[in-house]
Symmetry: C2
Subunit: 249 residues, 2 copies
């Protein structure tokens, strides 16, 4: 075990959590590599939530609260890292949780569903009744007829670029969490929270809690309208540049 | 399988190779995550070898060729990704290959040794006769008495920062491959090749081949003396900054 005094304790603890998710058959080997990529970008962001990312989480929350039919798309890494936060978010926002895997197997799908339910997640969809989205080379093209397919707002943290693109082309509002502000997913989505997924989910839950104590629908619509994702990405990107400069000072 | 037309085909093929190494019990789960971190930095470097990294590989080659007793330290990722290149390098430079793991097990050690030998690698040390280096918290402290311990030049691609530091403190010349020009390993080593490990190894082999056709020992010593690792790292780092800027143009 890593000591809590270690300057990168939070990051190393997350890494151990993910390896344990892999050992349980929830995360995939490719998911571990993808997590590593994220770690490097988080390191460049200083491993903390920027004001900018906090605001993006607030706007994403506004989208979820005002949606006609929101859906939360979950992969192996998200299920491993934030099952409690997903369950908590569901207490504020009524939405199905659709499991959607890049490297799918019936067995892993069931393991993930079981894991989520054990953490209090309800309304879990496993794509048993699916349709296939166009222009996606992987199995992630398969989406649930009663989930992503009919959603107006899709929250897809740790998404693949090609699917994010197709989902927006289909007219859906796409909310994502991506540590690389220059990725195709980041650039294509409606709202990109450039943050580590556990920090992003905690913020989403906290905003959902705040809003619950009373808000006007116009207030949320104003938040949505005032948001510019390109500006948001540019700011995140500026943080990376500034941090890179400071690291060699 | 990923299509060869994919703009990031080489990177994705490497990723698949590593997952297959993991499935064979050669790479570790933590190794997969570490690979992902490297992927992110390679992406920032444009996934190609810079002139700067090519020069560092040349200088590293000069160190290996002029060493009294060079040793090549191999971990699970290196064994998975470049077994053929290690074997080829041994045809030009007579040196033992010491397997040294952060997450060791006798079984994995044997699997890696077997894998390397199957690819033509000879003189493989598995640390059966070891001494422990000071100030290293992990099992990587254990080094072979007939390997790293008595080496004057150690080639340790994908190394841990604390061990790189200890090895230099012990007066050894440390050559490494690290995609993060700001890492402790990168900063501590004598020569840091800021490049992806398969590209770096192919370059090393190619320089060893060039030098074999005839060189003067003074020429190699001059190469070594002219090299400034800090300048090398600054240049690599400038490439990352420039690339980040160009990505949003």
């Amino acid at each position: 075990m890593v000591s809590k005094e270690h300057p990168r304790y939070a990051s190393l603890a997350l890494r151990d959590k993910l390896v344990s998710g892999y050992d349980q058959g929830i995360a995939s080997a490719h998911g571990l590599i993808a997590h590593g990529r994220g770690e490097a970008f988080d390191y460049l962001l200083g491993e903390q939530t920027s004001e900018n990312a906090r605001n993006a989480a607030k706007v994403a929350c506004a989208h979820l609260l005002t949606a006609r039919f929101p859906v939360f798309s979950v992969n192996g890494n998200t299920a491993t890292l934030v099952p409690d936060e997903i369950a908590e978010l569901q207490t504020f926002i009524d939405m199905p949780i659709e499991i959607n895997l890049f490297h799918p197997s019936r067995q892993r799908m069931e393991k993930i569903a079981e894991h989520l339910r054990a953490h209090g997640v309800t309304n879990v969809l496993t794509g048993s009744d699916f349709v296939e989205l166009p222009n996606i080379a992987s199995d992630r093209a398969k989406v649930d007829k009663n989930g992503i397919f009919k959603a107006d707002v899709v929250f897809v943290p740790l998404e693949d670029g090609d699917r994010a693109q197709v989902l927006t082309t289909l007219g859906k509002i796409v909310l994502t969490v991506d540590l690389n502000p220059l990725s195709r997913t980041a650039v294509t989505s409606t709202v990109t929270i450039v943050d580590e997924v556990t920090r992003a989910l905690k913020n989403l839950v906290s905003f959902a809690k705040d809003f619950e104590s009373g808000y006007h629908r116009d207030e949320l619509n104003l938040l949505k309208a005032a948001f510019d994702n390109l500006e948001n990405l540019k700011t995140s990107y500026a943080i990376v540049l500034e941090r890179l400069r400071s690291l060699v000072r």
